[in-house]
Amino acid sequence: MASFRSGLTQWARKRSIWVFHVNAASCNGCDIEILAALTPRYDAERLGVELVPSPRHADVLLVTGTLNPLMRDRLKTVYEQMPEPRHVVAIGACALGGGVMKDCYNVGHGIDAAVPVDLYIPGCPPRPEAIIFGILKLVTGTPDPVMAGEAHVG
């Protein structure tokens, strides 16, 4: 019975991925590509990915942007509101390590300074295919941070 239940949970978690999106001082490029991933051409809902309005409903936190000081605390707050098990995906060069903005005075070097990141998706911005690929990589169980979507970087 116990194994059936855990099997059911595993099965469900791989097929139902609710994401919440935080823009931590991004240029919009990554954000519109995340939205594009939900629209008809890419249609992430096929795979059970859904954009939810509240972090309390979310499984995966998508973070884009350079993480400026004002957003740092907000990001932590949002992360704390998420129920376990939760994952964080850093999307785009800025969220990975500051990107082109690296030496601006109001910019951090990647969001992993604020929240633990499970997966990095590089690109400026990554294409919608890369974003979907990355999220799938996350739920199909790769324990280590993986540079997902290397083949799709746009």
């Binding site: 469900a12 139902s16 249609d43 809902e45 795979l47 059970g48 309005p53 309390r56 409903h57």
Partner: protein, 322 residues
């Protein structure tokens, strides 16, 4: 209560049957919306993604449940169960096997009024108990919306009862054997569907749960198990209201008698019922997908100045013609 009755109540055509229907309805809803929007919709969970709502449910149930510090933990814990109970009891009165329902009372139509009101009341209570700001705003909207749609909803439900001269769902369904009431009282049917959209918080009346305005509405603070049940209840209410529409306006499970064998005929009745149920369901999907959200004051205005007079006119017409 005999074991057979208990099985009917819990398994078929009672709770379990309707819970699976609720999952199926959510899948159909999402799939219809996706197809209308030029997308595929869920495909990976089960064949054609049919198990997507099930996956969502079990995933949510397996997650951590966060109780916000300002909220009322008791209500938050037991409220979803009560919220779930409302449509779960309501569906037991719906005649599915021919004109027989699992539970029956000569005045059970009146009980339906109570079930519908109770479900909204619980939604408000849950929102209030979770003590979020967005939930509080959502509650205000919920109350305004409730006061606007409840009157036309009840009047539109009374209209078939007047036509049938009966206050039980079985009686109303049976009285429609010669002619469905959708033909005798089309306006009442239209009013019922509109009010159902408001009761279910679907566009254009998804005002209390408008995600782009007030985050998740009264559901903002819910997570894990509680959210799973709240979402399931919303889908169950969806099925429940569609089933009510079938019973009150589309002749219930009634249809041509095919054989003398009562067991086979019962199966035919279930098929009739499901066909009509999906027809009503699709009508609601289509309206919902094709419309934008209105504002709360606009919704109230529409209900008070157009829908309520319409339902009253229909009722008066029915009484005069009878």
């Amino acid at each position: 209560m005999t074991p057979v009755q208990l099985a009917e109540l819990l398994l078929f055509p009672g709770l379990t049957f309707f819970v699976w229907l609720a999952f199926l309805f959510e899948w159909l809803e999402r799939k219809t919306a996706a197809r209308m929007q030029g997308r595929l919709g869920p495909v990976v969970a089960g064949p054609f993604g049919i198990l997507q709502p099930v996956a969502d449910f079990f995933k949510l149930a397996s997650k951590e449940e966060i109780v916000p510090s300002e909220s009322d933990p008791f209500v938050l814990r037991w409220g979803p169960a009560l919220y779930f109970a409302a449509p779960a009891i309501g569906i037991a009165f719906i005649p599915v096997l021919g004109y027989q329902s699992v539970l029956y009372h000569p005045l059970d139509l009146l009980f339906m009024f109570f079930v519908l009101g109770f479900s909204t009341l619980m939604a408000g209570l849950l929102g209030y108990a979770s003590a979020g700001r967005y939930a509080t705003i959502a509650m205000g909207r919920l109350v305004v919306q409730y006061t606007s749609y409840e009157v036309p909803l009840l009047i539109s439900m009374v209209t078939p009862a007047v036509l049938a001269g009966s206050l039980s769902l079985q009686g109303v369904a049976q009285a429609q054997a010669p002619l469905w009431y959708i033909f005798l009282a089309p306006m009442a049917f239209a009013v019922f569907i509109l009010a159902s959209l408001a009761e279910l918080e679907k566009p254009p009346f998804d005002i209390p749960s408008a995600s782009t305005e007030i985050v998740g509405g009264w559901m903002t603070e819910f997570s894990g198990n509680a959210l799973a049940y709240v979402k399931l209840t919303k889908n169950l209410s969806y099925v429940f209201l569609s089933a009510l529409a079938v019973t009150l306006f589309l002749g219930g499970a009634g249809g041509p008698v095919l054989t003398a064998d009562s067991d086979v005929q019962a199966l035919a009745y279930v098929c009739y019922f499901l066909l009509k149920l999906f027809a009503v369901g699709f009508l609601i999907f289509a309206i919902k997908t094709g419309l934008a959200r209105v504002r709360i004051d606009q919704a109230a205005k529409v209900f008070w100045t157009v829908v309520t007079p319409l339902s009253l006119a229909q009722l008066a017409l029915v009484i005069l013609l009878r």
